[in-house]
Structures are given as structure tokens and as C-alpha cells.
Amino acid sequence: MSNWIEVGKIEDIPALGARVVKNGNVDIAVFRNNKDEVFAVNDECPHRKGQLSQGIVHDKSVTCPLHNWKIDLTTGEAMGPDEGCTGHYAVKVENGNIFLELK
């Protein structure tokens, strides 16, 4: 059963920036890139749990603030030589409102 939850407006997130949605105990990092695409992944780097929401965003990826791993925001997978994955969420934007699919 899918469960779309509205979490805010696209302009609440700076372009090439991120905000956090707190879902119970889980922090979800929601990103907006320069093309106004929105992505959501668990706010926990697969390397050592760095908060990805605090990283630098480029294209469809983010660089973790702790040790510079690059994470693909569409899949939550680490890129390049590093390996690991953090969970990602389906996102849709309707009339400027962001919805996340939470299970």
C-alpha cells in the first residue's frame, strides 16, 4: 500500500540544498537540485552515517560532509570506488508541493 505524504513546498528547500524530514526515528534528507528535481534518501551515509542533508549537492548526487563519499540521490547508492547504499524514497512534486512515498 503506498502512502504519499506532503512534506512541504519546493521553495522551502534552497536550490542545490537539502532539508530534513523527521519521520519518527528516521531522518529523511530531501534534496532539490538546480533543475528543481527533488530527491529523498535516508539521512545517513552508507560509509559512517554522515548526515547527507549537510553535504554539497550537484546534479543528481550529494557529497557527504564527513569523508566526501558521493551518493547517487536517485538510488541512494555510493558512487565511484566506494560501495554501499542508503535507502531512498519515491518523490513527486505537484503544484510545487513535495510528496514522499512512505511505507
Partner: protein, 812 residues
């Protein structure tokens, strides 16, 4: 259909064998692994640095759980195999799992030996073998004071060192006359003891434990001679025993270990064994290098290639206690048939002994200077005839031939010199990987060759190889592009920004044809700096192109909290400020209040959403951002100077405060530190700062380009001036030259070494007009960027960036 391989033991040897197997025959087996410990595979060797607080458990993981999944390995973690049915070819585990095998690999490691004295089963008696033991010790160190370590061998000393680092007072009890008697002779053993005593460790040698006393928990240790020592915990590190219970129980031939032949096969042809549980040609090993060699051979046979043969290993040892260098290998005691060459400089703490028989090295002990350990070890293993180089042997490899230039020892090593003992990686392998695969960083080399990825003690050598292979590129990437997003260098990009008046990052991207849409974390941060330093008024600071610390104006910590370090002008503070800091620490439950290395106070563990509240309270008492998070002016250290000190010549504190007021808030290519000392005794350490002032009777000496940190560099004396106003003008001019010309992330020390001290002097000292213009531009930049409007206040009460500190939404 694939054959089934079952591995018992998820440790270093077993998983190395699996890795080797996957490399050569990835599709041959369905692999199932049982591991009694509830983790993936970790680097047991590095438990010592974990205990010493130098590494975390996460950092020592070798293969984490996703690795097993990715390689389609079924891992039963936290599950112990309790039975093997050799007829039916199945194994059974304590959780009831039963698995069939075609081949079985036993890699059960060994168990710590616990001396069976009365009381050895009391709570508080701990061994040193796995993560659980380390957790117990770290936990004990939080609340308890006295630790006794029984066993003065490698493991015991590493345990003792770790416990000491965790704040316990530690006594090492050892049965023998000197420490590490299996790796050291009496003299080096004594030197080791003295160094460790100087670090605060206590010793009781020649002491035999009779009983561990305590009522329900450990309270002390009683010795054979009747004496007693109080203890809250007792760590037993007296040795290990191959873990062969299971093998014995199912009738596999065992002696001290599980007996294997040269292909690592046990007496049951379907069952192989590797690691510490094994006895090969009469020897059981306790170091990883031989186990990794076994793993390689074993994998070759499991893969069905059948060409490897394991002939046994010669091992060498190092102790992983930071600051203590020792190396030993082979027979270093000798007998009537051998000769020794010994160098002993007790003043410098150096001892080297090489044991020679018939012109061949039999063994060596090195203490204090171990740089040639790898070389001696190679001469020993290859049984090289050393008669030609005998006189020069003790001076090391660097003194062979006519070269004489010590510096880089590895440059003279032959390609087959082993660099990484743990993984058996030779110099040639590393050089080849660097050149063939275009590696630039230590991490790359680790990933591709495994060198320096186990115990880490060869890291220095690996770095030297990188340096000699990559030449200048390793030290300073001269004409390398900024990053993969562009082919242009830092200098080219910066010149374009200045000459073509580019004021936004997207201008730069279009004009210079960037290869990526948004750049990356490396180029965007640099570009943002180049823009705001070149066009302070016109360029707009882009907070999304700043590293989180500068974006949030606090340092991110590894757990996602932040640190807050307010400015203390020239290292001065007041009761009001101290009270404000104390109040904030209490109000927000900040457990760690640290006096920093920069003469101020750091508060640790602030939650991000509370940062503005913390800042508000601090602001109210006049405290502002210390920029401890920024590529910016950090601290200005001072001494009390003429005000109080009997040697003080000028008001060093006052000039320090003025320097800080002048320059705080200014963004720099890298961090920038200053200091002012009241006399040449230099208590404020001005000669290792980016800009230092040393007061003298006749005025002020100005020093530039000092660096503590990774590579210490003492300053160059720029000039001497008469008045405080001149100090400030020179400081501003120097800052500005650095701001305008150094590359992003280049500190003043490497910058000056690159452009030359004379160049800086010509601009800042020799040419009065230039100096004035530089100082004016500095002042202008400080003014128009509003850099001295406290960024904390802007966020605490000024409404700036408020989105940064609150979640977008809270659900549930």
C-alpha cells in the same frame, strides 16, 4: 550446478581465502559462512588502535554486510557451528541450521588462553581478542581506575597502552625477566620498558600470578610471593591456543592445531583449514602475514587449479604503540656459532642488533629507528651474502653505494622488497599500480594493492613510494586541473574570474565551459572563494557552495552534532564571558567543554536546531563567532607580555587583540592563525603561525609562513617595524596578498614555498605603495562584505538562513 563451499569462521584468514577465491573462480561455489561473532568481517589487528581511541569499529571493518550480499555469500552471523557430519557432508549450527557442503573450510582462529588460577572466572577478568572484549574494556575504563594486564608480550602491551589512553592506571605483570622476550633481547626489552614507563605504564617483571581475588568481582591480584595488587579489571594476555575443539570432536587429526599439508588440506580431503587454528609443518602461526599466504594457496586449490604450495613463513614483528618503533625478526639472540653487530645509542634511544651466521642474517632487533627493518628482513629471507656490505650494514640502506643522501630510503629499494608485511606487497607491485592505474592518494593505493591496509605500520613507506613515483605531483599537484569538472588549473580559473570580471559560479561555468552542470564539492567551494575574494562587493556568497561548517557557522562532528567556539580576543576573557559559557553548557547539556589549542573554549555536542539558541545566549554577553569552522582568520594567540611578565618588552596582548579586531571574519584560502609574543622567549609560539609578531625592545619582528599541523614549518622573518600601526598595516597587506594569490586550500607555508619568500617580501616590504594598496584592499573587503557582522547574531536573531536549523517537516 554450483558446488557448495561452507566456511566455519568469519575471521581474517577465512574471509581472505574467500576473497582470493572470488578473484580467481567467482562462479564455482555457492558460499555459506558461519561466524560466531555478530558482525561482518573486521580487521582484528586494529582492535589495539580502537582500544587506544585512535580508530573506531567502523573504520576497521574489512567486509561489511552488503559485501556478503553483493557476492551472494550467505552469512550466518552470531551463529556457532557445533557439529560436522563427515559422512553426510553437513554442518550443524547452534541455531539449528544445517547446511550441506562439497568442500568445507575451517578457519576457527584461536582462543585467548586464560591462566587457570583461582578467581580467573570472576567478572572483570577480560581477554583481548574481539570487539566484545574491547567494548568491555572501554566500558570499564569509564568508571574504573586500576587495571592489571597479565602478560608483557605484544598483545599485553597493546592492551595496556590502550587502557592507559582510556584513562586507567595500568600495571603490566610479566613472568619473564624482560618484556616481549619472544621478540626482544634483554637490552631492547629494557629500553622498551623505559619508554613505556615514561608514558606512565607500571611494570612488575618476574612475577607469577597465584590468584585473582575478589568477592563477586575482581578486586586484586595475588602473586606467588604473597604480595597483592589492587585491580578493578584484569586483562589476561598470556597467549593464544588454536581453536580446534570442533575439529577434534569430529575426529580430524589435530596436534597443537588442525594438521594440514602444503595445500592446506586436512586429513579429510574435503576439508581444508587456514588461519591460526592450523598447524603446518609443525608450526602454528599467530600473525596475519602467514595466514594470508595460506589463504592464497588454499583458494587456489579450492578453485581447482592445484598449483600453489605453502611452504611455511618467516615472520617479523612490530608493536603498534604510537611513538614506539620496534622491529624484530628471526633469531635475534644467537648462539656460539653466530656473530652480532650491535649499535647502541642510549642517549638517542636507538638500539640495533643484527645476528649473522656465515655472512647471512639470521635475525634482527631494531629499537628506536626501524626504517631499515624491511631491508634487513629481505636480506634475511633471501639469505643474501652480506660480506660486501658488512661495514655499512648498520647505517642502513640509504648509505649503500655513493648516494649517501638519506632522505628517501625507498628510492633505493629493489622492486621485490616487501613493503607491507601483512599482505605481502612488494615495492614493485605498488609502483606498478600507481603508474598503470594512475593512483594519486594513499586510499587509492590501499584499495588497489592492499598495502598498508592491515596493521598500517608501513604507511610511511608507502607514502615515500608514492612520493618517489609521482614526484612533484604527489606533493604539490602543479598543473593539475582543479577537478574532474574542468581541464583548467586553479590559477587559470582565478585569472579568468579577475580579468573577465566573472561574479557568479554559473558565469564561470559558462565562460570556462565547465564539463558538469553543477560542478562538484571540490570546485564549487574553491570557486565561491575566488569569486568573493576577487569581487568582494559584486560577487554574492553562495551558501550552497560552502562546506557545511561554513554554511552553518559551526563544526560538524562525527555524530552530526556541532561544536561552538566563541572568539576570545587575543586569548583574553572575562568572568562574564566565562559565566555565559558555563550557563550555556549547563542549559544545553553540553558535556564537553574543552580549552582548545587556540586559547579559547570549545563547546561540543550542540544539536543543530539548538545552535541559534546557544548563539543567542552567548551574543547577549558579548561573545561572537570564533570562526573555528572556517577557512578564515582563526585565533590570535598572545602572551601576557609587558603588562605582567618580567621579560615583556611590548604590549603583546594588546597588539594581538588589535590584529584580531582587524582581521576577524575575513575569508581566506585556508585557515589563518596569528600570534604575538612579548619577547623572544616566544611563549605564544608566534614562529609557527601564518603571521607572527615577536616583540623586542626596539619594536616588533614580523614573521610569516609558519605552520604547526601536519608538516611543521617555522616562519621566515619578514621584517622589523617600530610601531603598532605598522604591525597592523603589514599584517593587512600580507593577508591580502595571500587572499588574492594563494590557491584555495593552500596554507601560507606551502604557498610561500611555492612563490618564494622574496616574492612576498618584494610586495609587502620593499614596495611601500604596493603594501598600502594591499592593506587598503583588505580593509575594503572587510567593509563591503560586512564580514564583521557576527554571523551567529545574524542567524540567532537576524532571521538569516533560518531554514538551515529547522526540519522541513516532522511526521509522527
Amino acid at each position: 550446478m554450483k558446488e557448495k563451499l561452507v566456511v566455519i569462521g568469519n575471521g581474517m584468514a577465512g574471509m581472505r581465502a574467500v576473497e582470493e577465491l572470488l578473484e580467481i573462480a567467482p562462479d564455482k561455489y555457492d558460499i555459506t559462512v558461519f561466524g560466531a561473532e555478530p558482525y561482518g568481517n573486521y580487521n582484528r589487528i586494529l582492535l589495539s588502535p580502537v582500544l587506544a581511541g585512535e580508530k573506531t569499529i567502523d573504520e576497521i571493518m574489512l567486509n561489511d554486510l552488503p559485501w556478503y550480499e553483493d557476492n551472494h555469500i550467505t552469512l550466518h552471523k552470531g551463529v556457532t557451528v557445533t557439529g560436522i557430519d563427515r559422512n553426510a557432508c553437513t554442518v550443524t549450527a547452534d541455531d539449528g541450521t544445517q547446511v550441506k557442503y562439497d568442500r568445507l573450510l575451517m578457519a576457527t582462529g584461536s582462543e585467548p588462553f586464560i591462566i587457570p588460577v583461582p578467581g580467573s572466572d570472576l567478572p572483570g577478568v577480560i581477554s583481548f581478542r574481539d570487539i566484545h572484549d574491547v567494548d568491555l574494556m572501554i566500558d570499564a575504563a569509564r568508571s574504573k581506575k586500576h587495571a592489571v594486564v597479565i602478560g608483557g608480550g605484544l598483545l599485553g602491551l597493546e592492551a595496556a597502552n590502550g587502557l592507559m589512553k582510556q584513562g586507567m592506571s595500568v600495571t603490566v605483570v610479566h613472568l619473564m625477566d624482560w618484556l616481549m622476550e619472544r621478540q626482544m633481547d634483554p637490552i631492547s626489552g629494557e629500553m622498551l620498558k623505559q619508554s613505556l614507563e615514561a608514558k606512565g605504564m607500571n611494570f612488575m617483571l618476574k612475577s607469577s600470578t597465584k590468584e585473582i581475588v575478589g568477592d563477586g568481582k575482581v578486586q586484586g591480584v595475588r602473586f606467588e610471593d604473597g604480595s597483592e595488587l589492587a585491580a578493578d579489571i584484569v586483562v589476561m594476555a598470556v597467549g593464544i591456543r588454536p581453536n580446534i575443539e570442533l575439529a577434534k570432536q569430529v575426529g580430524l587429526h589435530c596436534e597443537r592445531g588442525i594438521v594440514v599439508n602444503d595445500t592446506l588440506q586436512t586429513f579429510d580431503p574435503k576439508i581444508y583449514a587456514v588461519g591460526e587454528c592450523v598447524q603446518h609443518r609443525g608450526v602454528a602461526y599467530g600473525l596475519v602475514a602467514p595466514l594470508f599466504e595460506m589463504a592464497k594457496v588454499c583458494a587456489n586449490h579450492l578453485a581447482g587449479y592445484g598449483i600453489g604450495i605453502y611452504k611455511g613463513s618467516v615472520t617479523s614483528t612490530k608493536l603498534k604503540v604510537t611513538g614506539i618503533d620496534l622491529f624484530s625478526a628471526g633469531d635475534f639472540i644467537g648462539d656460539e656459532t653466530t656473530e652480532d653487530i650491535v649499535v647502541h645509542d642510549s642517549h638517542q634511544g636507538i638500539y640495533k642488533k643484527i645476528v649473522i651466521k656465515e655472512n647471512k642474517i639470521q635475525g634482527a632487533v631494531l629499537y628506536g629507528d626501524t626504517i631499515d627493518g624491511a631491508w634487513y628482513f629481505q636480506l634475511m629471507r633471501e639469505q643474501t651474502n652480506i660480506s660486501d656490505i658488512r661495514e655499512k650494514l648498520m647505517f642502513g640502506q640509504a648509505h649503500l653505494g655513493d648516494s649517501g643522501h638519506g632522505g628517501n630510503v625507498v628510492a633505493q629499494m629493489s622492486d621485490d622488497t616487501e613493503i607491507c608485511g601483512c599482505n605481502g606487497v612488494c615495492k614493485g607491485d605498488i609502483v606498478k599500480a600507481i603508474t598503470d592505474k594512475g593512483l594519486f592518494t594513499l586510499d587509492d593505493v590501499r584499495a588497489h594493492t592492499k598495502a598498508s591496509s592491515s596493521c598500517g605500520s608501513c604507511t610511511g613507506l608507502v607514502e615515500q613510494i608514492m612520493e618517489s613515483t609521482l614526484g612533484g605531483d604527489y606533493a604539490t599537484p602543479e598543473s593539475k586541473p582543479m577537478c574532474a569538472c574542468t581541464d583548467h588549473t586553479h590559477d587559470y580559473v582565478r585569472a579568468a574570474i579577475r580579468d573577465q570580471k566573472l561574479v557568479t559560479i554559473s558565469d564561470v561555468f559558462t565562460t570556462l565551459k565547465w564539463k558538469t552542470d553543477d560542478g562538484c564539492a571540490a570546485c564549487r567551494t574553491a570557486l565561491n572563494y575566488y569569486l568573493i575574494s576577487s569581487w568582494p562587493k559584486e560577487a554574492k556568497d553562495d551558501s550552497q557552495s560552502r562546506f557545511i561548517n561554513e554554511r552553518a557557522h559551526a563544526n560538524i562532528q562525527k555524530d552530526g552534532t556541532y561544536s561552538v567556539i566563541p572568539r576570545m580576543w587575543g586569548g583574553m576573557t572575562t568572568p562574564v564571558e566565562l559565566r555565559a559559557i558555563a550557563d550555556v553548557a549547563e542549559k544545553f547539556n553540553l558535556d564537553t567543554v574543552h580549552v582548545t589549542g587556540g586559547q579559547r573554549i570549545g563547546l561540543y555536542g550542540v544539536k543543530k536546531h539548538e545552535l541559534p539558541l546557544v548563539w543567542k545566549d552567548l551574543n547577549e554577553k558579548g561573545l561572537v563567532s570564533g570562526h573555528a569552522y572556517g577557512k578564515a582568520l582563526r585565533t590570535v594567540k598572545t602572551c601576557v607580555g609587558r603588562e605582567w611578565c618580567r621579560f615583556g618588552t611590548q604590549d603583546s596582548t594588546g597588539i594581538g587583540i588589535k590584529l584580531e579586531k582587524l582581521s576577524w571574519g575575513s575569508w581566506m584560502p585556508h585557515k589563518f592563525k596569528m600570534a604575538a609574543s612579548g619577547c623572544p622567549r616566544n611563549c605564544a609560539e608566534a614562529t609557527i603561525k601564518d603571521f607572527g609578531v615577536v616583540c623586542v625592545d626596539s619594536g616588533y619582528e614580523l614573521h610569516i609562513g609558519g605552520n604547526g599541523g601536519v608538516k611543521v614549518r617555522a616562519t621566515d622573518l619578514l621584517t622589523r617595524v617600530d610601531t603598532e600601526d605598522e604591525v597592523l598595516e603589514y599584517a593587512a597587506a600580507f593577508c591580502q596578498l595571500y587572499r588574492e594569490e594563494a590557491r584555495y586550500l593552500e596554507r601560507t607555508a606551502p604557498w610561500i614555498e611555492r612563490v618564494g619568500f622574496t616574492y612576498v617580501k618584494e610586495n609587502v616590504v620593499d614596495d611601500d605603495a604596493k603594501r598600502k594598496q594591499l592593506a587598503d584592499r583588505f580593509e575594503y573587503s572587510q567593509k563591503v562584505t560586512g564580514s564583521q557582522d557576527d554571523p551567529w547574531e545574524q542567524r540567532a536573531t537576524g532571521g538569516i538562513d533560518s531554514h538551515e536549523f529547522v526540519p522541513l517537516k516532522v511526521i509522527g
